[in-house]
């Protein structure tokens, strides 16, 4: 037992959620630098009665706690709270707002494969995978969770310095009428209609269109 309210509360308590991996994170209480503060976490399912313990996040030193398993039912909304403990004192609980993973999780970028020829680039996209508890668990694509998953493909022509983008619903896109012998860079973001969500673009990938064989032949002749 500890004296509640003897410490300031942890701050900035939020869920960081990407592909249904739901991490509770917070900042240490102010003014306790150097003190060996520990934390305890509980979570709550909206509409139910009791706060539930997360045993792996009792008296921990770190300022984050993975609640992915506990918050994995898409039909539910959740709350979480954390308190700070130091010696015989502890803070009041600091609580999140209502967290709705189905609507709030960030959809990670797809895997992007590029192939090219003289005047076109073929783009093949693979939807990101949902978080899974064990690596050997079977994979679930985020496409299976969000049937209306789309992609925003941005293309940058390094020679003309021009950028354009387009929305794609299926997994392949062929960019035609490109300039030969030119470096193009591509970034892709996943997108789901619905409430605004943070987006995570893919890393920039660049590919060179081939030299124009016809003009190369003329040169030879």
């Amino acid at each position: 037992l500890c004296i509640s309210g003897g410490l300031p509360q942890p701050t900035n308590i939020t869920f960081l959620s990407i592909n249904m991996r739901n991490i509770l994170q917070w900042s240490p209480p102010e003014g306790l630098q150097g003190a060996e503060v520990t934390y305890t976490v509980q979570y709550f399912i909206y509409g139910q009665k009791k706060w539930l313990n997360k045993s792996e996040c009792r008296n921990i030193n770190r300022t984050c706690c993975d609640l992915s398993l506990e918050t994995s039912d898409y039909e539910h909304q959740y709350y979480a709270k954390v308190k700070a403990i130091w010696e015989r004192n502890c803070s009041k609980w600091a609580e999140t707002g209502r967290f709705y993973p189905f609507l709030e999780t960030q959809i990670g970028p797809p895997r992007v494969a590029l192939t090219t020829d003289e005047k076109s680039i073929s783009i093949v996209l693979t939807a990101p995978e949902k978080w899974k508890r064990n690596p050997e668990d079977s994979s679930i694509s985020m496409q299976q969770i969000y049937s209306n998953l789309k992609y925003n493909v941005s293309i940058y022509n390094t020679k003309s310095n021009r950028t354009w983008s387009q929305y794609v619903t299926n997994h392949t896109l062929v960019l035609s009428w490109l300039e030969p012998d030119t470096l193009y860079c591509v970034r892709v973001e996943s997108f789901v209609p619905g409430p605004p969500r943070l987006a995570q673009p893919s890393d920039k990938q660049c590919v060179h269109t081939l030299k124009d064989q016809a003009s190369a032949l003329k040169v030879k002749i």
Partner: protein, 154 residues
């Protein structure tokens, strides 16, 4: 882009606008302190057949318009919230006005099933103080929209 609640089709409603309207008002959830009660719980919305969906959505949206949203504008001081609220309410009104569920006898058991679901919601609502219930129901519009999206053709 249209809703297809079983046989009931509703055109002219852009679901993304409803999402954006609600997102602007999501802070209302922080005013709902009765976290042990969820009005739109699984028993109300889970496994609703297409045929049932028209009856259920009509009952729910009519309730939202007549009871949940009632007098809300008087309380909404912030103009951005008022604009979002109007977007939500007007679109709900459009949907309700376009829903024409069948009244034929053979549909009685289906409409009854939908009515039982709605009564679960309404009973839970009435067990709360009216202001708390309005705030809670308003905060659950994201649950309602998530369910409605299943019937939306992008």
């Amino acid at each position: 882009q249209e809703f297809q609640f079983g046989p009931c089709r509703v055109e002219g409603v852009v679901l993304q606008e409803l999402w954006e309207a609600f997102s602007a008002m999501k802070d209302i959830q922080a005013k709902d302190n009765i976290t042990s009660v969820r009005l739109l719980r699984k028993e109300v919305l889970q496994n609703v057949s297409d045929a049932e969906s028209c009856y259920l959505i009509r009952a729910l949206l009519k309730f939202y318009l007549t009871t949940v949203f009632k007098n809300y504008l008087d309380k909404a001081a912030d103009s951005r919230i008022r604009k979002s609220f109007s977007t939500l309410a007007n679109n709900f009104f459009v949907i309700v006005s376009k829903l024409q569920p069948s009244q034929e006898n053979e549909m009685f058991s289906i409409s009854e099933s939908a009515r039982r679901r709605f009564l679960l919601f309404q009973r839970a609502f009435k067990q709360l103080d009216i202001q708390a219930a309005q705030t809670k129901a308003f905060g659950e519009v994201d649950i309602l929209l998530t369910w409605m999206e299943k019937f939306y053709q992008f």
